[in-house]
């Protein structure tokens, strides 16, 4: 029996307590199973231009690419699905577009953005990211981070320069080592994972994970998984209650599995069970 993934999305975004503008942009698409988040930065109040641009380019590029996918497009060693490679190309295209707009408009000079996107297909999830906007997964009530920040802090921790527990004392939280709109080429990290029914995925800007401890994010998702829109709303509220130093955005996805077609035997047994 073929299994078709069905994904339910919920999201929330807020300026936070301290900032005047929201430079985060988010989007979800039930048709393609796509979730995207971008956290804009820099420029003369143009961070939101960069993040919105990234989202719209990715949606359009991916929309076109997914309609014309051929298995032959897969990379030579067949390491990644063609969808995953299409996501990588879409992120690269967004990078070029942001650079182009920034060159033409002095107000947009130096604007940039993080970008994290995930695409659900059958029993897989494809992930692509640049910067420090994170994707987490809650599976069997345990929270796990699926993306590694492209940040100076992550680099320091990985190199053993500082302890993971001490990282909250660092003043490098805000320094990303990769972003869209900074250089002609950008290195996009991609990853694929299996998807299980009951999984919950959380895409967030650093305004959430800087303000709310992972254990509290885990608690909120475990307790509120029955009501995804409420979970999104309360996660944003928790970030603001803890100080809300930054824009905070949350996109949630819950995976459900439903049989696509019921086979004859299936229908028969279904009938007997009644």
């Amino acid at each position: 029996m073929t299994k078709q993934i069905r994904v339910e999305f919920a999201s929330a975004t807020d300026t936070g307590v301290v900032r005047k503008f929201n430079e985060d942009s988010i989007a979800t698409d039930n048709e393609t199973g796509l979730m995207v988040l971008a956290d804009g930065m820099g420029g003369y109040m143009a961070g939101d231009v960069a993040s919105a641009l990234a989202i719209s380019v990715v949606k359009e590029e991916l929309g076109n690419a997914l309609g014309n996918l051929k298995q032959a497009e897969s990379d030579s060693d067949k390491k990644y699905l063609p969808q995953t490679l299409a996501m990588k190309r879409a992120a690269e295209k967004a990078n070029q577009m942001i650079l182009r707009v920034a060159r033409k408009n002095s107000q947009c000079k130096d604007m940039g953005t993080t970008l994290t996107l995930a695409l659900f297909q059958e029993d897989r999830i494809s992930i692509a990211h640049v910067g420090d906007s994170r994707l987490y997964r809650l599976r069997y009530d345990r929270l796990e981070q699926l993306t590694l920040d492209h940040s100076l802090l992550q680099g320091q921790v990985a190199a053993g320069l500082i302890d993971s527990g001490d990282a909250k004392l660092s003043h490098n939280r805000n320094l990303v080592t990769r972003a869209l709109g900074k250089e002609e080429t950008v290195a996009v990290d991609v990853r694929e994972e299996d998807v299980l029914p009951g999984d919950i995925y959380l895409l967030c800007s650093d305004g959430l994970n800087d303000m709310v401890e992972d254990v509290d994010i885990e608690l909120a998702l475990c307790e509120l998984k029955a009501n995804l829109p409420l979970a999104a709303k309360l996660l944003v509220q928790m970030a603001n209650d803890n100080g809300g130093h930054d824009n905070v955005s949350v996109v949630l996805a819950r995976v459900q599995v439903q049989p696509a077609k019921r086979g004859l035997l299936d229908r028969l047994f279904g009938w007997f069970r009644r």
């Binding site: 100076l152 003043h171 307790e223």
Partner: protein, 227 residues
């Protein structure tokens, strides 16, 4: 600009601006910060600059180092930290290293810093990720709880210390109680009928809880209290 104020016997004896990537501290002449005291080792400690951080590290000194009274080997310096080495005190002053400053604005780091980052890029996916949240801020939250009148918690007292907790019967009627700076709130989570407070259905909006409120949800009957 970050600086270290050198103090001996309570009097300021010097000022040292942190302008280099690595600063040595010790009794050896030629140390960037030379401290002539028998309680200070020849190569006592170093301070490394990484991005906005200055990281203090004891180099295995004989008598050790303390910061704000605690013995440490490695520490990310915070504005106002006082380091004790032998008879000397070093006071770290850096207005940029104040946690209340607007340091959350995401920025791309400068090329010079990128080398450190590149050197440090992890190859291993299992590497631990920095925990950055500031839980200490919850200190200002009120504290309250529930006394069970009927149901699973009958006769028990539950303190609500975490940011939220659900009550009720999964799949039938569930409400969540949130701990927030202005107080505790109750909100409907799932079920056709919402929970009741003092006999009134709570509806779909969050409702503030008052000391002595009686909550009915699922098979539970609970009394809310504020400490």
């Amino acid at each position: 600009m970050a600086k270290l104020v050198v103090i001996l016997n309570g009097a300021m004896v010097g000022n040292h601006f942190i302008e280099k990537g690595r600063i040595t501290i010790g009794r050896r002449t030629g140390s960037d910060i030379h401290l002539d005291d028998p309680g200070v080792s020849k190569e006592h400690a170093v301070i490394q600059t990484v991005g906005n951080d200055h990281i203090f590290e004891d180099m295995g000194s004989t008598n050790g180092s303390t910061i704000n009274g605690s013995r440490i080997t490695k520490h990310i310096l915070q504005n106002g930290d006082v380091i004790n080495l032998g008879a000397y005190q070093l006071k770290y002053a850096n207005i940029k290293a104040n946690p209340e400053m607007d340091y959350d604005r995401t920025m791309m780091i400068q090329p010079a810093d990128r080398q450190v980052a590149a050197m440090a890029q992890p190859a291993d996916e299992e590497v631990s990720s920095p925990a950055t949240a500031r839980s200490s801020l919850r200190a200002g939250f009120p504290l309250g709880g529930l006394r069970g009148i009927k149901g699973e918690f009958a006769g028990q007292k539950i303190e609500l210390e975490r940011p939220l907790k659900i009550f009720g019967t999964i799949g039938e009627q569930v409400a969540v109680i949130m701990r927030r700076p202005p107080g505790y709130f109750i909100t409907h989570v799932e079920g056709n009928k919402t929970a009741r407070v003092n006999g009134q259905a709570i509806g779909t909006e969050a409702q503030a809880l008052q000391d002595g409120d009686v909550i009915e949800v699922g098979q539970e009957k609970l009394e809310f209290f504020l400490k």
